[in-house]
């Protein structure tokens, strides 16, 4: 009896997987704020929470929206859109906060929507285009994603360091 295509395939199948070329990748936390879709390295994010009651701070730069109490800790809230001069976030009940401890001390940022965790192949990262309105100072690169479109990868520690410097310089 003639072997079926499956039987022929099984007969030719290797016993062990072939050695594959490992494509290095990184995991990013992807979110939307305003018109921007941004990603930050996931290990730089401590947690993502709902918006809670925010207390405004006097005499701070416009990108400092205030502070929130987060499990007994006072955490500043920054608006990335204002910080990057890309507009202003509209904080609603649907907004989310993501917290980072990068650079010592917790800070949080407002996100309109959380897309989730995505693995990005390092080989797919491109340098930010010259025409980008986002300052290259704060970008690690850009990726064209089938799912979310143009994704800008933020250098979060640099953003936080710069934001702290701007706050304390006043």
């Amino acid at each position: 009896m003639e072997p079926s295509p499956l039987q022929r395939a099984l007969a030719a199948a290797p016993d062990h997987p072939k050695m594959q070329t490992v494509r290095p990748d990184e995991e990013y936390f992807v979110f939307r704020t305003g018109e921007l879709t941004l990603g930050v390295l996931s290990h730089q994010i401590r947690e993502v929470t709902r918006m809670s009651a925010m207390t405004p701070l006097p005499r701070t730069p416009s990108f400092v929206l205030g502070v929130v109490g987060q499990r007994g800790q006072v955490v500043p809230v920054f608006d990335l859109l204002r910080f990057l001069s890309q507009g202003e976030s509209k904080v609603t009940a649907r907004s989310r906060l993501f917290l980072s401890d990068s650079g010592g001390g917790a800070v949080s940022f407002v996100a309109d929507m959380v897309v989730g965790l995505r693995r990005i192949f390092i080989s797919e990262k491109l340098p930010p285009p010259m025409s980008s309105s986002l300052s290259h100072e704060f970008l690690n690169g850009v990726v064209q994603s089938r799912e979310v479109g143009a994704l800008s990868l933020l250098d979060l520690p640099r953003v936080i360091a710069s934001a702290r410097q701007k706050v304390t310089a006043r």
């Binding site: 009651a53 006097p58 005499r59 502070v67 109490g69 987060q70 006072v74 001390g105 936080i160 706050v167």
Partner: protein, 124 residues
């Protein structure tokens, strides 16, 4: 039993703040010539003032912070107050926060509002 500190809770333009009760001499009516300005923003109603003592040229004088409402005195556990993080500690008179669950009330040093005012650092 943890140590407590008495705070006077007040409201300016819909935002709640608290100050050390020992800094407050009394709650009075607004006297514009004693005002330290509006370092925390302009009150909506501004019918009351927290009156406190400051020293000007070695003389004790009274100064006022105009508020919308005084909401009462609270004995707050020291465990529930925090210094402000570096990224939030900008003004000389917001010295910390009282954290009550998810709510955060800024702690204001009334004497420091007067110093800021004398340096021409006030929002009128």
């Amino acid at each position: 039993m943890s140590q407590t500190v008495e705070l006077v809770l007040f409201e300016i333009a819909g935002v709640r703040y608290a100050s050390d009760l020992t800094q407050v001499r009394r709650i009075g009516v607004v006297e514009p010539e004693q005002s330290v300005g509006h370092p925390l923003g302009k009150p909506t109603l501004g019918r009351r003032a927290l009156v406190f003592s400051t020293t000007v040229e070695n003389r004790e004088v009274e100064s006022q912070l105009c508020v919308d409402a005084v909401l009462g005195v609270h004995a707050v556990s020291v465990d529930d107050v925090r210094r402000l993080p570096l990224a939030a500690a900008v003004s000389p008179f917001t010295v910390g926060a009282w954290v009550e669950g998810s709510k955060t009330v800024l702690l204001v040093d009334l004497h420091a509002t007067s110093v800021a005012s004398s340096r021409g650092n006030h929002d009128d």
